[in-house]
């Protein structure tokens, strides 16, 4: 026993002595890179930058985002503000309440800002990188930082402008880290100044879409200057939405300066100084052409800056699966975003006039259509490019949207399940009496308003399958928006003819071949053109906010049947509830109308509330915890 103990002791001691403890403990970790390893290698720095790109904040997004501790799928943020009804049982409550929480859309991620500041600080000091590469990385990081400040100012008004990574000194007094809010105009000035400074450090390469380019920086500048200009100009309409320190609200005398900057920056893109961009006009069918802007990734001349996705890379999204037409879909779901009747009616006729979708004659009798699509004929091609209309196709399959049969005496025969069957009078065999895509009131994932969304849907096979998903990119800046921004800035500066010129380019692509004259351009026209061209791309909230018309459009009053088709094209037309348009097939054997179609506007039974945009919604609520931590912050008005 004693011997064994001795032998063991010797063995243990020998082994212990043979270890070189220093070497053992000083091995570099295999799971982490050191600062040196990162900042001497271009590829590693790019991957850090990639993480910053990945955290870019959008209001309309394909990704699932976190709002108030809830995971919210991206499609809900795309189809908001009664431009669409949501055909999903769990989300009807959006149409049963009467507005938005004051905290809606709030954002305050200073950890992201700190990481961008750290990146800029460390990249500036990284002398092992080649100067050209380093300069581009730095410009990209500044672009992302300016983009996020732009996002913050749109949502919160002026925020503390922090451009250095701050460090706590553990002294017990954090007050030197507390900064007051900058003026709203100062944040816009910062975004514009950054864009001006970095634009020539970024490549002018139109082929580059997912990284910052010169055109992306300029497009950001145009949008920011335009927003600031309109807040200055239209802020006078809501004097209550301002703070005495300028944290919210911009003085009216600054409007022209901002509009001038916006127009100048837009002209730089339009004249090709940032590379050649042009409206997308590859396809002869104008509606197909418009839909293609958003999924055609090959030499797309229109798209300027995107969030890109790629199949089989892990970065894919399910937007198509969420919203595809339900009938024959690749999964047993879809159809969540149903564009509303008011949105569909907003599209002009080809002679530049507004008209309701003609369901009845002047004396109130229904109009009979031979083909379901006839009722939408002769309209702006963007309608069919944005909305899947009844009677059209998606992925070469015809959507089956019709609400039932109507008999000669006006009785409607319909079913309460997709493609339900009933026996029509005078027949013996049951047959289908309602479309496989609905519309059935309150039946989720079908076209309850009579329409599906087309914009951003991926026509590639498998894109609606959970296991495959889609690689359609999310467009953040595109050339058509730059043109419309230029048109608005020119109009506000009194150059109506120039404004008409920009706007006509966009309208011509949409099939509206009759050009508008300078005298035709007014505020309503500007608002309308953006609504139809940029629908479901995340513009509607910020546009309504900066023009200070959100509280007029969503004033809390329900919409009556008579009102739906009234005042089309008016900027402040009430839009508090989505309506639908249902088609019925006539069953009247022996009559000339047998088999023809009639249409009826409907108010869906799930829509019981009506939205009211409060003055306190113009700028989101700054969380109490944030204000407790930094008493120098002032609260937003009307909260």
């Amino acid at each position: 026993m004693k011997k064994i103990f001795q032998i063991l002791s010797i063995a243990v001691l020998t082994l212990g002595w043979s270890c070189n403890d220093d070497d053992f403990l000083n091995r570099p970790p295999t799971g982490q890179l050191s600062e040196d390893q990162i900042w001497t290698d271009e590829g590693q720095v790019l991957s850090v930058l990639g993480d910053l790109y990945n955290r870019y904040v959008d209001i309309a997004t394909f990704k699932t985002i976190r709002i108030d501790n809830n995971d919210v799928p991206g499609w809900t943020t795309v189809g908001d503000f009664n431009e669409a009804f949501w055909s999903e049982a769990g989300r009807y409550n959006v149409f049963q309440n009467s507005g938005w929480d004051l905290k809606s859309w709030s954002h305050w991620d200073y950890a992201y800002i700190r990481e961008m500041n750290l990146f800029i600080q460390k990249c500036t000091a990284a002398d092992k990188l080649s100067p050209a590469v380093r300069e581009r990385y730095l410009a990209e990081a500044r672009f992302l930082r300016a983009s996020y400040y732009f996002e913050l100012v749109k949502r919160m008004g002026g925020v503390p402008l922090i451009l250095e990574p701050m460090v706590y000194d553990y002294s017990g007094d954090p007050s030197y880290l507390q900064h007051p809010r900058a003026k709203e105009s100062e944040i816009y000035d910062f975004v514009i100044k950054e864009a001006e400074e970095i634009k020539d450090k970024l490549p002018a390469t139109p082929g580059e879409k997912s990284r910052a380019t010169k055109a992306a920086a300029l497009a950001m500048e145009v949008r920011a200057a335009l927003y600031a200009g309109s807040i200055a100009k239209y802020g006078v309409n809501t004097p209550a939405v301002s703070l005495p320190g300028g944290e919210v609200g911009i003085p009216a005398n600054m409007a022209n300066g901002y509009y001038t900057k916006a127009l100048a920056a837009a002209k730089e893109i339009i004249t090709g100084k940032a590379g050649v961009y042009a409206l997308y006009t590859k396809k002869p069918d104008l509606s197909e052409n418009f839909a293609s802007i958003f999924y055609d990734k090959a030499n797309n001349s229109e798209v300027i800056f995107v969030e890109d996705f790629k199949l089989q890379s892990g970065k894919v999204h399910y937007f198509t699966g969420w919203n595809q037409p339900r009938y024959g879909a690749e999964e047993e779901e879809g159809g969540r975003i149903n564009p509303s009747l008011q949105f569909v009616e907003a599209f002009e006729k080809l002679d530049n006039t507004f008209a309701p979708i003609p369901t009845t004659n002047a004396n109130g009798t229904p109009i009979y259509y031979t083909d379901q699509t006839d009722i939408f004929a002769g309209r702006d091609a963007r309608l069919a490019g944005t909305v899947i209309l009844p009677g059209t196709t998606f992925k070469s399959r015809k959507v089956d949207i019709w609400a039932g049969y109507q008999l000669a005496n006006g009785t409607v025969i319909s079913g309460d399940d997709r493609g339900a069957q009933k026996t029509l009078p005078g027949k013996t065999v049951p047959e289908q009496v309602v479309g496989f895509d609905g519309p059935i009131d309150g039946f989720e994932f079908t076209a309850q308003t009579g329409f599906y969304l087309r914009k951003y849907l991926d026509p590639v096979l498998g894109s609606g399958q959970r296991g495959v998903n889609s690689e359609v990119w999310l467009v953040r800046y595109r050339y058509a928006e730059v043109l419309l921004n230029a048109a608005e800035a020119a109009f506000e500066l009194g150059q109506a003819a120039e404004a008409a010129g920009y706007m006509n380019q966009v309208r011509e692509r949409a099939g509206l071949v009759k050009p508008l004259k300078g005298s035709d351009i007014n505020f309503d026209r500007i608002v309308h053109e953006r609504r139809v061209e940029l629908a479901f791309e995340g513009h509607v909230l910020y546009d309504m906010k900066r023009w200070r018309i959100a509280h007029q459009i969503m004033d809390g009053n329900a919409i009556t049947a008579a009102e739906v088709s009234k005042d089309l094209g008016k900027a402040t037309k009430r839009n508090t509830q989505p309506w639908g348009l249902w088609s019925y097939k006539i069953y009247d054997p022996g009559s000339a109308n047998n088999g023809k179609w009639i249409f009826k506007p409907v108010k869906l039974s799930r829509v019981t509330g009506s939205d009211r945009f409060q003055l306190g919604n113009y700028y989101s609520y700054i969380d109490d915890a944030i204000i407790s931590n930094n008493p120098k912050l002032v609260r937003n008005p009307n909260q």
Partner: protein, 233 residues
């Protein structure tokens, strides 16, 4: 042996439960309630749109306790005893708050111990006087007089006067069955404002409705309302 085996989970459960400590705070018991008044007269507002904020300094992070104001201008909050500051959020309500002095501004200081009633005096832009409602033949008629309280530079014009008709006694913009708006420019005499609303066929049918008149003041978000009145058709 078998019995003991059954007892073991029970013993474990009892042991676990006994580890829970009872919450050592009693629930709040004191009610602070009252009405928004002008010279003692309540001011009607829209349900759920105007609120009072109660702040209690000294406990952790600062956050307001909201006390929503009901249609008849009343509010109530169930609170712990203590010192509270009571304010309106800026620009809320169809009235101006009364500023007492430069230090306190418009804050009311409340020392709460036990139930307490506290009416909040404010300066409304307008008061609605002698509202009269009548109904019949699917119509609701209303007549009101308006008294302009704040005048001069503080005064504001009327944007519109609206008669709202609802099925239930919550009468508001979002859920009304009929509404009649009279633009402020069309009002010639503040002492004789008459409104008529046509009530559509109600389904399921009911022989009565509820109505109230609201006044929207220019550049003021919240409207001032008459009391809700039941009207037989």
């Amino acid at each position: 042996m078998k019995i003991r085996f059954h007892i073991m989970p029970l013993v474990a459960m009892v042991a676990l439960l006994s580890a829970c400590e009872k919450d050592n705070y009693t629930e709040p018991k004191s009610t602070l309630s009252g009405q928004i008044v002008y010279n003692g007269e309540p001011i009607g507002v829209e349900e759920g749109q105007v609120r009072l904020q109660l702040w209690q300094p000294g406990f952790g992070k600062l956050a307001a306790i909201d006390a929503p104001i009901a249609q008849d201008g009343s509010y109530s909050a169930l609170l712990f005893d203590g010192n509270y500051k009571l304010v309106f959020p800026r620009n809320r309500g169809p009235f101006k708050t009364i500023v007492k002095d430069a230090a306190a501004k418009d804050t009311l200081f409340v020392n709460l111990s036990g139930n307490q009633t506290l009416d909040v005096e404010v300066m409304p832009y307008y008061m609605i006087r002698t509202p009269q409602f009548s109904g019949g033949e699917s119509k609701v008629n209303a007549s009101i007089k308006l008294e302009k309280i704040l005048t001069g530079t503080e005064g504001k014009d009327i944007e519109r006067v609206s008669l709202y008709v609802n099925r239930t006694d919550f009468v508001a913009r979002a859920t009304n069955v009929a509404v009649t708006d009279v633009p402020g420019a069309d009002i010639k005499d503040l002492n004789a404002i008459n409104l008529t609303a046509n009530v559509p066929t109600l389904s399921p049918a009911q022989s009565f409705v509820f109505a109230r008149v609201g006044v929207k003041i220019k550049d003021v978000e919240d409207m001032v309302f008459t009391p809700v009145q039941k009207v037989n058709l």
